[in-house]
């Protein structure tokens, strides 16, 4: 296996993206809305398609905007159907995102002749090709440091997520653990809800082109869930979940190179394997974590205290 600077670039983009997703994902998990990530990442398709048909390019701000709007609409429609139709949230979510996805699919098929965008590029992304599109970070006489353009986009998203979470940490925490208390204290939990949904939508959109929605869905859910099995403190939870995210990206890319080689098969996509690696880490935590199956079997488990609100 040859280790090149391309691999570094792929790992860089994958890790940044995994961290950008794991951050809002932690709060989705605490609010029991993990499936919202899945819903939003499917539902951005019509937004992308419409923006693409309007603007005609794949990298414009139009596309970003269109997809973000579609993502927020998913959250909004789900909320309306749950509230006015008195439908269970899971079912409402399922109806909204399948409908939006179907609309997107039709739009793309309709314009397939003169447009170079298909549904699979949204699902798989093109992680392998990110090293082809580089920007120069800085240049000296002896060396030149370049990083993929996708890394810049995703790093800004990560930065955006970090800033939002830091600014509204108290509000998010309160809204996640006790929405009623948050409301009586004047913290506007619904506003926090839509802010979180915006973060998820923006992250999904920023990531889709480089890494595809598979990684986004997996990193929104699996690293936070893994961390959830390892700790009961919110700050540790966030840090662990970011670490697991980076580990998944690194392990995923390595196994995408090594595993097929060992099995004697052709090489495979890094994005699929990053999701698989995240699942593998979850499995480890599930089996061997402090509340893991092994401990439960041998009866070593003491009743742990409930998750604390204080930090």
């Amino acid at each position: 296996m040859n280790w090149t600077v391309n691999d570094l670039h792929i790992i860089l983009v994958g890790s940044l993206c995994a961290m950008a997703c794991a951050l809002p994902g932690t709060f989705l998990l605490l609010r029991r809305m993990s499936m919202m990530g899945d819903a939003i990442s499917h539902a951005v398709l019509p937004g992308l398609a419409i923006a693409f048909l309007v603007s005609g390019t794949r990298t414009s701000w139009w596309m970003f905007f269109g997809a973000a709007v579609a993502g927020i609409l998913t959250a909004l429609f789900t909320q309306w159907i749950t509230r006015f139709g008195k439908v269970e949230r899971g079912a409402a979510m399922g109806i909204v995102f399948t409908t939006l996805f179907a609309i997107g699919l039709i739009l793309i098929k309709q314009s397939a002749d003169h447009v170079d965008l298909d549904a699979s590029c949204v699902l798989y992304g093109a992680l392998e090709y990110t090293p082809l599109n580089l920007v120069t970070l800085f240049e000296t006489e002896t060396s030149i440091v370049q990083i993929p353009k996708a890394a810049v986009v995703i790093a800004s998203t990560l930065l955006f997520n970090i800033i939002v979470i830091t600014l509204f940490f108290k509000e998010f925490k309160m809204a996640s653990f006790d929405p009623s208390l948050a409301k009586t204290q004047g913290f506007r939990p619904m506003l926090m809800h839509y802010l979180l949904m915006t973060m998820v939508a923006v992250t999904t959109v920023a990531s889709f082109e480089a890494v595809g929605s598979i990684i986004v869905i997996a990193m929104l859910i699996v690293p936070p869930a893994t961390a959830f099995l390892l700790t009961r403190r919110l700050s540790v939870l966030i840090a662990t979940s970011m670490t697991v995210a980076v580990l998944s990206a690194v392990l995923g890319h390595l196994s995408s190179q090594a595993l097929p080689y060992l099995l004697g098969l052709p090489e495979t996509t890094s994005s699929g394997m990053m999701a698989t690696a995240a699942g593998f880490l979850f499995l480890l935590a599930w089996l061997f974590g402090p509340e893991g199956l092994i401990k439960k079997q041998t009866g070593e488990l003491e009743k742990p205290p409930e998750l604390e609100l204080e930090d």
């Binding site: 039709i106 699979s120 090489e267 990053m274 999701a275």
Partner: protein, 439 residues
Amino acid sequence: MDLEILRETLLLERHNTRLVVLGVTLLGGTAGLIGSFLLLRKQSLLGDALSHATLPGIGIAFAVMSAMGLSGKSLPGLLIGATITGLLGVLLVLAIRRTTRLKDDAAMGIVLSVFFGLGVAILNMVQKIPGQSSAGLESFIYGSTASMVWSDFYLIVGTLIVTTAVTILILKELTLLCFDSNFASTEGWPTLWLDVILMGLVTAVTVVGLQAVGLILIIAFLITPPTAARFWTNNLKHMLWLSTIIGAISGWLGASISALYSNLPAGAIIVISAAIIFLVSMIFGRARGVLPRYLRHLKLQKKVGRQHLLRSTYEILENTQSETPLKNVPISMALLRKHRYWSKGELPKLIRQARAEDHIERQPSGELRLSESGFGEASRITRNHRLWEMYLITHADIAPSHVDRDADMVEHLLGAEIVQQLEAELELAKSEIESPHAI
């Protein structure tokens, strides 16, 4: 011309589309039937996790069959692979939920994303295996009805018939499971196994639907028709029928339209047809639709307002006169305004309403007076209120000073039958009742 072809397609008169349209219609009906139980069990998104979890199975089955020298794309083989990993995915969801602190949504999300990622990775590998054409495996993700042949049709119809038969056989048990699983398990029903059977049925429908509809959109088949049907009825049998019919109609429309226009994928048209039916149901559905519910709410509000106005008028008459029988004299707006709390603009509106119903008439002096029928109605309403108050004081141990507010909430719903029961209970038939508290 186009319309003629559409008519023929819809009526199954065209030989080359008959198969697909019939198959997808049956699929829609069965998915609607089984999805109903999934919805009532509040597990709709489990279908999502399940359908994504079938992807690695398809890839592995393809690789294994290719390695054995068979055609990698034989449908039964691929579907067996899909069933195995699909079921494994569902069992993992149940296991994560039972053994960790993680909730439903996280358990489903983990299985969905990891299995899907794994599936994509495997498909990517096996597609590069030399000598085997794997083109078309991706149709399982987005669905394609064009590749359906007779043998696939028999497989689909056979599976659907078995699934429906099993559902009908264990209808009672499934109903119990959906409405009160705790009761079911205390009665000795094996709820875990019932859940597993339900998941098995869902898996069967999902797997045979993969090829036609695709794994992302198949879940709409399981979720949308039952949710739409739920708006129309509170009766389970009616809901099952309705959901089956809605599913079948969506499938029939979707398959027919996409058979005509090759760039309209069947799955997408099916989902959009179902979504339109859902939207109409959500607004107009007789039992739980938004509009009927709102109209019922308005009607109740109007009734409550009328009763408040008439009772207040009657109570004022009682307060201002000492001798019985009560004389129906005009009273002033000011008294009425002071008698109880009215929200802004409520009183004039209620008076307008009552005048339209001939319960209250306005005197030339500007004062209000109950009409003949209004007086009778007011005395009846006041009597019902007090009957209910007496009942609460005697049988529910509510303090006389608090009883007014409690009675206020329920009295508007007292029917003639309940009033008779109250009278019998309190032995107060036909007599006048004094208010048990100061008015």
